[in-house]
């Protein structure tokens, strides 16, 4: 039998922040959750803005005894694309979950079965600080408003106010 060449690099390669495919991430989440432990990773994309922003670090906990409820932000395997998604549960119907991104009004991910849901987002960290909005008791209200299409309206109304608040601090600081 002929011997294989030794790939030196393969024996010693170590990296921080190894880029992983969605499938790899799903495998690792499942493996860590099987040990009953939460999984911490960096979220990408804008579909959950403003509650989860591109680059936020999130902690995903296994559901264990309880099941997902409306308002919970979950990581799940998308029924059509089979990719990993982090979106909010809007409703439960016949043991399946209606899930949608907060920033994707009118574009639900479909009815997702329980076995495709990997866990619940319990912590969001932005620039080293915990962001609590969107994960506490208000999450049920957010799900309700999102289901009625109200998040878009709120965002539209809040935009001019946000602009004013951004422009106004100088006179206040001057005092």
């Amino acid at each position: 039998m002929s011997k294989k060449p030794l790939n030196k690099d393969s024996a010693t390669k170590t990296e921080n922040g190894v880029p992983l495919s969605g499938r790899a991430l799903i495998e690792l989440i499942k493996a860590v959750h099987a040990r009953g432990l939460p999984f911490r990773f960096r979220a990408g994309g804008h579909s959950m803005a403003p509650f989860i922003r591109d680059g936020d670090v999130i902690i995903l906990s296994p559901f264990a005894a309880c099941e997902p409820r409306p308002g919970d932000v979950t990581a799940f395997i998308h029924p059509e694309t089979e990719s990993l998604c982090v979106h909010r549960v809007l409703a439960v119907r016949g043991g399946r979950y209606l899930i949608q991104g907060d920033n994707l009004p009118g574009k639900p991910d479909g009815m997702v079965p329980l076995n495709a849901i990997l866990g619940r987002v319990t912590v969001v960290e932005r620039a080293g600080r915990r962001v609590r909005m969107g994960l506490g008791p208000e999450r049920r209200m957010i799900a309700f408003i999102s289901r009625c299409g109200g998040l878009t309206l709120i965002r539209r109304l809040a935009r001019p106010l946000h602009g004013c608040l951004r422009r106004s601090p100088a006179p206040c600081v001057k005092n």
Binding site: K3, K4, P5, L6, N7, K8, D9, S10, A11, T12, K13, T14, E15, N16, G17, V18, L20, S21, R23, A24, L25, E27, L28, I29, A31, V32, R35, L37, P38, F39, R40, F41, R42, V57, I59
Partner: protein, 101 residues
């Protein structure tokens, strides 16, 4: 760090989760009770994965070097350096535990 000898035996720490995905092995540390992708993640491909599999708490490093020497087209000394190098790296990240007789 303690000197690594070829008669030493190591096993994989229970504080890690490892999975072979798309031909490479990914090791996630479970430090402070969380599987942390933002922490030191360790990625190895073919040879590294083979070494990781053989760190089973039974084989000495010398036996691992012997197995690899029979399999790869490389000098024993080179393989020895690679095995010790990777073991050192894994110990530093607390991914390996030394088995004592």
């Amino acid at each position: 760090m303690k000197k690594i000898r070829l008669d030493m035996v190591f096993s994989q720490s229970s504080d890690v989760v490892s999975r072979e995905i798309d031909g490479s092995l990914i090791i996630v540390p479970l430090t402070s009770g969380v599987g942390d992708m933002e922490d030191d993640l360790f990625s190895m491909n073919e040879t590294g994965t083979e070494i990781w599999r053989m760190l089973d708490g039974r084989r000495t490093l010398g036996e691992i070097v012997e197995t690899l020497t029979g399999k790869y087209r490389a000098e024993r000394g080179e393989i020895e350096r690679d095995v010790i190098g990777i073991v050192k790296e894994l110990i530093k990240r607390r991914m390996l535990v030394e088995e004592t007789a």
